[in-house]
Symmetry: C2
Subunit: 360 residues, 2 copies
DNA sequence: ACCGCTCTCTGAATCGATACAGTACCCGTC
DNA sequence: GACGGGTACTGTATCGATTCAGAGAGCGGT
């Protein structure tokens, strides 16, 4: 109970340094002595160097902090986040680095920020964290390297070592909406995750330039760009806030678009998860996706292919892997620390030409 | 750069202790002084108490280590593991505790064990880690609390504070195999994850009592129990090892069972993920699941319902949540630290009565 | 016999914070 | 005016390791 380096050193009759070396620098002492030390350590029940003490002295903990979504357990519901995490884990695994998943409790901004302040890590990986959550500032204040996938403008202001791996959100969204507009849709609903609020799901009346959460905001702005370019009257575009990135919430949001007299003919969501909920909502009302109402998602999670969802594909596992690599082996060239990955428009069955009959 | 408690203390003109209190025990000093201290700290760029130093002194890090599958990134491929992790994250989140995902690199036993030795955590949660990986021993040696879901016999030998949350693997497997036997199947193949080897997928000739990985071993033994009870000749039972818990590997393993002249009429796998691969293998060969060959899985992941897979349902999110609760709020009563959760046989379309025509 | 070199091992300084006993002072009370 | 009881802050010991300059020994070469 409570054996330390010193205890072992005293027993063996060598200095503490030597015992330390036995564990951390085997080449610094003779193999025989090392064997003797380890044997005594085992006998005394010495569990090896205390990790906290070691990292205090070394100034390094071999772990990177992961900030995933506003709320950790939520992240495990989103297949895209899981895939991202997998890529991150692959990169970390190869470099013997642990991943510290930091809890971000709901309804406790201050507590969440404390968690970021107190995390024992060498760097941070931030994914899908809303702008109003001041995590980046704290990380910056701590002077730790960080890789994010959000607003490049914000990360550009940080002083520490910063990386970026993401996509051109707005451009991809534009491509998707252009496809929908080209099919003839003119009355459209846009469902955006967290664009105004994290507590209420429903229609909102905000100018797209004032949307809050960067990722969704850019996607919605991209949608609008394309719709305007196609000559759609913005008065016919309904904007709906989704309080969570969740299938049930997606269905609820879709309800607000479907249960009104001038029903829209297309619903664009800022994520596949929400779009799956939209499809549920259609099913409940006996509407056919791609015929009565066109539906699109974003991300291209595996289930999207299964249900034939038209969406934007963005790299998932690879994105996580690159994030990990940027943190663990930062390229000298700052240019190389800013990676914009390609996206693809994937057209499937949930989008189709406007149906004269039911849109009348 | 490099500001510490002392730096701040000197600037403000108070003692180091007081600055420490300003952060960790606000009730120990006047609000005015605290405000002044925090202001100076901010100005000096002091990022708050160093997490390593704090945890060294406190003897606590507010993190629990997670050992997930032999290989971390693999865990994110298994929907069951992800669900488990979600439950764990929920429990951790409520108690402001972080989750340290520990990398367990392939082909590096020693490195993996070091990772367990060096992890800065207060406790461990072990899930689906094979017996031959001596992680439990190390954790025990470190004297940290642990909750596992594997072999209760092993965990029973540990001296530290130990919890268990799992299911009666063998009983559940028995129920499943009894269902298959009752449908008339007599030539059966069993696919087991890691039952002999982690490098080769294919038929093996081992007595079930000598299988390696506890979870799969128990499941296979349960299968055999029921088959024997139903009068099946064990000579007609093929045992196939799966080198990974992976869909592709499942398909490969199934190939070994299907591409032989005395083709089996039922294939039982130790996990849903493997069973999905088995279904792929059937599809490739133009065989109908539930008609030509009956197929079963284990776990009841969401996709199982989608494809109509007969399987055993076991709690996933709940299992993770309970594991977290046992670690973070250990019940005083040792009995309550051993939780065996219920399982259900879920019969769907992939099992059916033996088909006279194609089994002849 | 002496130089220089490698190989092992030692000692002191250091990493940055927290716990706890203790001091100083103020205020009200009998 | 002595005393009890708070409140606000300080000082010191301590958590457990790593680092690095350097000491001493052994050894081949000249």
């Amino acid at each position: 109970m409570g054996a330390t380096l010193q205890t072992v050193a005293d027993q063996v009759g060598v200095s503490r340094s030597t015992v330390s070396n036995a564990y951390s620098r085997p080449d610094q002492l003779s193999p025989e002595l090392r064997a003797r030390i380890l044997a005594v350590a085992e006998r005394l029940g010495y569990p090896g160097p205390n990790p906290s003490a070691r990292s205090l002295r070394r100034g390094k903990v071999d772990a990177i902090g992961v900030l995933l979504t506003a709320n950790l357990s939520m992240a495990f519901r989103d297949p895209y986040a899981v895939a991202y995490l997998r890529g991150l884990a692959e990169a970390a695994e190869q470099r013997k680095t642990s991943l510290l998943l930091i809890p971000l409790p709901h309804n406790d901004q201050e507590g969440a920020l404390d968690a970021v302040r107190n995390a024992a890590v060498d760097a941070f990986c931030v994914y899908c964290v809303p702008d109003w959550f001041k995590a980046l500032e704290i990380i910056n204040f701590r002077g730790l390297p960080v890789v994010g996938g959000e607003d490049p403008a914000i990360t550009g202001q940080l002083s520490g070592e910063v990386g970026f791996v993401g996509i051109d959100e707005r451009k991809a969204a534009r491509r998707l909406a252009a496809h929908v507009a080209a099919l003839g849709h003119r009355r459209v609903a846009l469902i955006g995750h967290w664009i105004t609020d994290t507590s209420v799901t429903g229609p909102v009346d905000v100018h797209p330039d004032e949307l809050r959460y960067y990722v969704s905001g850019e996607r919605v702005r991209g949608f609008r760009d394309a719709l305007v370019a196609a000559g759609v009257d913005l008065a016919d575009v309904v904007l709906i806030n989704a309080a969570e990135n969740d299938r049930l919430v997606g269905a609820e949001a879709a309800g607000h678009a479907l249960d009104r007299q001038d029903r829209c003919t297309a619903i664009l969501s800022t994520s596949d998860v929400l779009a799956l909920g939209v499809l549920d909502a259609l099913a409940v009302r006996g509407l056919r996706p791609g015929r009565d109402v066109s539906v699109t998602g974003f991300d291209d999670i595996p289930e999207a292919a299964a249900v034939g969802l038209t969406t934007i594909r963005q790299p998932s596992v690879e994105r996580g892997r690159i994030a990990g690599e940027l943190l663990l082996d930062p390229p000298a060239d700052p240019q190389a620390r800013h990676r914009v990955l390609p996206t693809t428009l994937v057209v499937r069955a949930t989008t189709g030409p406007i149906n004269q009959e039911s849109s009348s």
